[in-house]
């Protein structure tokens, strides 16, 4: 579950919303800056000037550092550009959180990771190229796919997507949305939030709630 209670920060005014466990929601901001501020607050990277950010029942910014980090380990995030670590290979990026948090090494998570990537459309013969190079060698939509695999391996309770279908070809976007929809249903109570600037992605039809931001306030 995700909740904002009277959150005010940098042009965002007294935002209040509640996304229950198990729901899929979309949040549409007017511009990229508002979207970035909102995402930073949800991901524990920017404390709001006022209000509370509640993640899985916890006030995120009232927690001590280690507890906040442990909470963020239960939140998966796919950024628009992928958010991969540039001095690690793509494969190392994918296995890193699971390895760090749960001690599951790359060898043990290989089968599950490759299964996810195949489901997302990475062909067998493209897999070595996809996994063995640095993230900078991949086009943006493939970096997002890698970021999704990285998040999915952790089996998060919340998934947050930043403009996941932006710039993707229609075929890729449809396949990606199908997999994200399946993934949402794979764990009871998993919450999915899609955040975008401008308009909600046309391909997104699963969202139960759509929140729109206008002049810093939620209007719908």
């Amino acid at each position: 579950m995700i909740a904002l209670e009277g959150v005010t920060e940098h042009g965002l005014m007294e935002l209040s919303l509640l996304i229950q466990a198990g729901e899929t929601a979309a949040f549409v901001t007017e511009d990229e800056y508002e979207k970035d501020v909102l995402l930073e607050m949800l991901l524990g990277l920017r404390r709001p000037a006022q209000g509370r950010v509640i993640i899985l029942g916890e006030d995120l910014y009232a927690l001590v550092r280690d507890k906040a980090l442990a909470l963020m380990a239960r939140v998966g995030f796919v950024s628009e550009t992928g958010g991969l670590i540039s001095n690690l290979k793509v494969w190392e990026n994918i296995v890193l959180p699971l390895w760090y948090h749960k001690g599951v090494g790359p060898e043990e998570s290989e089968e599950a990771a490759i299964g996810i990537l195949k489901r997302l459309g990475i062909a067998d013969d493209a897999m070595p190229r996809f996994l063995s190079g640095p993230p900078g060698d991949l086009p943006e939509h493939e970096r997002r796919i890698a970021a999704f695999a990285r998040a999915a391996l952790m089996e998060p309770d919340i998934m947050i997507y930043d403009s996941p279908f932006e710039g993707m070809g229609h075929g890729w976007a449809m396949r990606f949305q199908a997999v994200l929809g399946e993934f949402h249903g794979m764990k009871p109570g998993r919450t999915s939030l899609y955040v975008s600037a401008g308009e909600p992605p046309a391909v997104l039809t699963d969202a139960k709630k759509i929140y729109r931001l206008q002049e810093g306030r939620i209007t719908a």
Partner: protein
């Protein structure tokens, strides 16, 4: 007016230097408190990579430089005192072990690793990768900083010993051939001049130099905020602070140990 402006400038520089030194020490202290995290495999991977980059990849050049330095010292001393194998050997030992070994090694590592670490962390800051780690619940201090500090420090410590060995043994061997002096036969007498205390002090310097270089580089790399133009500035600050701290630590340890 010029005098007061000058005083202002000196004061400003001093305050900035104090602020950076304090920030570096804070970062070092915070990292050392998390030392247990090195038991976790992902962090050990980062540590090993850092040791490979700072230590293994530097070794050949550093060793070659050590041999050359040994030859230079022997040549200079022999031009003053003549070809007195035992005396020359002892001067070589004292010079390399007490001062040149730790300081030369530190300068090498600053030139190679300090710049690399500061610019790498700076570009990670600019591209949002440090925030990406936090958003995954991975503490950057544990995953990025601690292994780099440990890796660079361990490398400097080992490289100091390695450089000294290369300078002394390599210098004596090559100089035996060039000068015709019987250095090899005089080895026992030469090495009798070297005490455990001197070796210990040189390795202690290596340890402190490693901590200073790594912490300075990480601190200035992390100071980069939003712009790539800050990265070269951070790199310059890292190098200058590392050099200053190395000289300062060298002075303090030398005076404390040998006066």
């Amino acid at each position: 007016m010029r005098v007061t402006a000058g005083i202002d400038r000196v004061g400003s520089v001093a305050l900035t230097a104090y602020s950076h030194t304090r920030g570096t020490l804070d970062l070092l202290g915070s990292s050392l408190r998390e030392a247990r995290a090195l038991m976790i495999r992902p962090m050990r991977e980062v540590l090993l990579r850092q040791v490979y980059f700072t230590g293994v990849e530097t070794a050949l050049r550093l060793g070659f430089t050590g041999v050359l330095l040994g030859v230079v010292i022997i040549t200079q001393v022999s031009s003053i005192v003549g070809v007195n194998a035992v005396l020359i050997g002892k001067v070589l030992l004292w010079t390399v072990v007490r001062e040149m070994g730790p300081v030369f090694t530190a300068i090498f590592v600053i030139a190679r690793s300090s710049t690399a670490v500061a610019s790498e962390l700076g570009s990670m800051q600019v591209s949002g990768e440090v925030d990406a780690l936090r958003s995954m619940g991975i503490e950057p201090l544990r995953y990025l900083i601690l292994p780099r500090i440990a890796g660079v420090t361990l490398s400097v410590f080992v490289l100091t010993f390695y450089f000294q060995a290369a300078a002394i043994v390599g210098g004596l061997v090559v100089s035996s051939l060039l000068l015709g002096a019987n250095f090899m036969g005089s080895m026992p007498a030469i090495f009798a001049a070297l005490g455990l205390f001197e070796v210990g002090i040189s390795l202690l310097k290596g340890l402190f130099f490693g901590l200073a270089i790594s912490a300075s580089s990480c601190y200035h790399g992390l100071r980069v905020r939003g712009s790539i133009t800050e990265i070269p500035q951070a790199t310059t600050f890292a190098v200058m602070q590392s050099l200053t701290l190395v000289v300062l630590i060298d002075g303090i340890v030398t005076v404390a140990a040998f006066i």
